[in-house]
Amino acid sequence: MLGVSVLVFGFLHMIPGDAVDHLAGGEATPEQREAIETCLGMKGSLRVQYVRFLGHVFDGTLGHQCPDPEQKPTVAARIAEVYPHTVALALAGLVVAVVFALPLGIAAALRRGSWFDTLAAVGALSGIAFPMMLLGPLLLLWFFVDLGWFPGPFETGAAALVLPAIAVGTHLMAMLARMTRSSMVEVLSEDYLRTARAKGLSERVVVWKHALRNAVLPVITVAGLQFGGVLSGAIIIEKVFARPGIGLLLLDGIAERNYPVVQGCVLVIAASYVLVNIVVDIAYGVVDPRIRRA
């Protein structure tokens, strides 16, 4: 976690001097320039700057915006305002991915070699390859412009979540469907399934009770670990749908050269990612006793 903070700090402090020029405008007095430098936290040695940066992290403000540190809300406040939208989008994307991927993968594994299996494999590969920044607009075009089924850009309600969630989740869905299939195929050939069949259990019980649980577990883990990918996707999709969120805030910050905002956004996204990974690790131990003992 500390490593991530050093990384964030390190990259964002390679800010070239012309950032100050940019914010100050052409005819800034030396005093104005200095005020901006102070505001951007560019004063003092690198170590002093890093300590100050950490201080902003721990006092919960994530720093102030420049060049008017007093007037606007703190960076943390701006992030807190939009962050729930991003979390909702990422979670919805995750749900879309898992809900569609599991049945697809399982069905493909059970009918291995059939036309359905082939179709699912082709679909999954296309889903992985098709760029989501095209999928998003196409969904918007079909379901908002042409059909009018779902609300369009700038909205944040539950109905407005549907299209962005599909756009965010498709890539992961394709990956997970392939994983589910191969994991299921592997489990179906295990000895304990032959045992289960041998003792006369019906095929339904064998598949749904014995095979499924073992096959799905690794898939769920990967889904959790792919949360970072979903967050990255959310940045793109928020731009496509002009949907308020941390990704859009980040892009705005970059466009305005508002470095404290950029820094804060990057840190928050990275921190969420690390946090989710830790939670998934722990959850996996709880669900699968074999891991705990190891």
């Binding site: 990259f11 992985i128 075009l141 191969s182 990918g229 940045i235 793109i236 950029v262 990612y273």
Partner: protein
């Protein structure tokens, strides 16, 4: 691997390789066979958003530039960029990974810690952060941004392989007859890394194209003449324009073509070169 016969390559490898060959050929020839130029001189505001026609197979864009020509120039950019990024990432990653795996100890610990930190960071976010702090994004910084976390995958693979290879008898034999560390690493260990690296490079190839497209789409692209990502950006902006959907589709499908080809080839090669991994993702 004596049973290396062309006839035994899986359809996945053959289809993937063919798709990539088409891309490479178009990437090399693209700007030469493009019907028109795409630079500032090609801007022609009299024919903005021209529909598809015999003179412009895919119409023109908002500046009146021929779409097909842009696609072909974009293929060149994409090819150039992925070759540069993959070669640099692979070189750096393999060197670092080999050193870590070969010498173990403190060197290994430090390197793997760095790898862990980079892996704990969403990849695209890191790329965005690097490109964003530079006032004038250009090709060099773009390459740096993609290599900054691109090397990690190669380093992990190289390290893992070297860890097991260094315990082999032939390495001990080479050491015993007085070969230096460098000689052992490059002459005896490095050749054995080629197969897994080939797989990783193929997959990395597609990945670079996808990330480039994402960054260009976000307005953080390499700023070379024409990229598919930048075309997607323009295409989606004007997607509502009647008769202009094919512009975004053309760019998007080009990206999908390369990524699909690279994935097919990479997966197929992995199954072929490392049968233990067969069926896993």
């Amino acid at each position: 691997m004596s049973e290396f016969r062309p006839g035994r390559w899986s359809p996945s490898v053959r289809i993937g390789a063919s798709m990539l060959i088409v891309f490479v050929v178009l990437g090399v020839l693209g700007p030469l066979i493009a019907p028109e130029g795409v630079g500032a001189h090609a801007v022609n505001l009299d024919r903005m958003f021209a529909p598809r026609s015999w003179s412009h197979w895919l119409g023109t864009d908002k500046s009146g530039i021929d779409t097909l020509s842009q696609l072909l120039h974009g293929a060149r950019s994409a090819l150039l960029l992925s070759v540069i990024v993959v070669s640099i990432s692979a070189t750096i990653g393999v060197s670092i990974g080999m050193v870590a795996g070969y010498f173990r100890g403190a060197v290994d610990d430090v390197i793997m810690r760095i790898v862990d930190v980079l892996l704990a960071f969403p990849g695209l976010l890191l790329n965005i952060a690097i490109v964003a702090v530079v006032a004038k994004p250009g090709l060099p910084i773009f390459v740096v941004a993609l290599c900054a976390n691109g090397w990690v995958g190669y380093a992990r693979i190289a390290r893992g392989q070297v860890l097991s290879l260094r315990e082999r008898d032939y390495v001990a034999a080479a050491r015993a007859i007085g070969a230096s560390h460098a000689s052992v690493m490059f002459r005896h260990i490095a050749p054995n890394l080629l197969a897994p690296l080939l797989v990783q490079m193929t997959l990395g190839f597609g990945n670079v194209i996808a990330v480039e497209a994402s960054l260009s789409f976000l307005g953080l692209g390499p700023q070379v003449d024409h990229t598919w990502g930048a075309m997607l950006d323009q295409g989606t902006t004007f997607l509502w324009k009647p008769g202009f959907r094919h512009y975004a589709l053309a760019a998007g499908l080009s990206i999908a073509w390369v990524v699909l080809g690279a994935n097919l080839l990479g997966d197929g090669l992995r199954d072929r070169l490392d049968p233990r991994q067969r069926g896993r993702v």
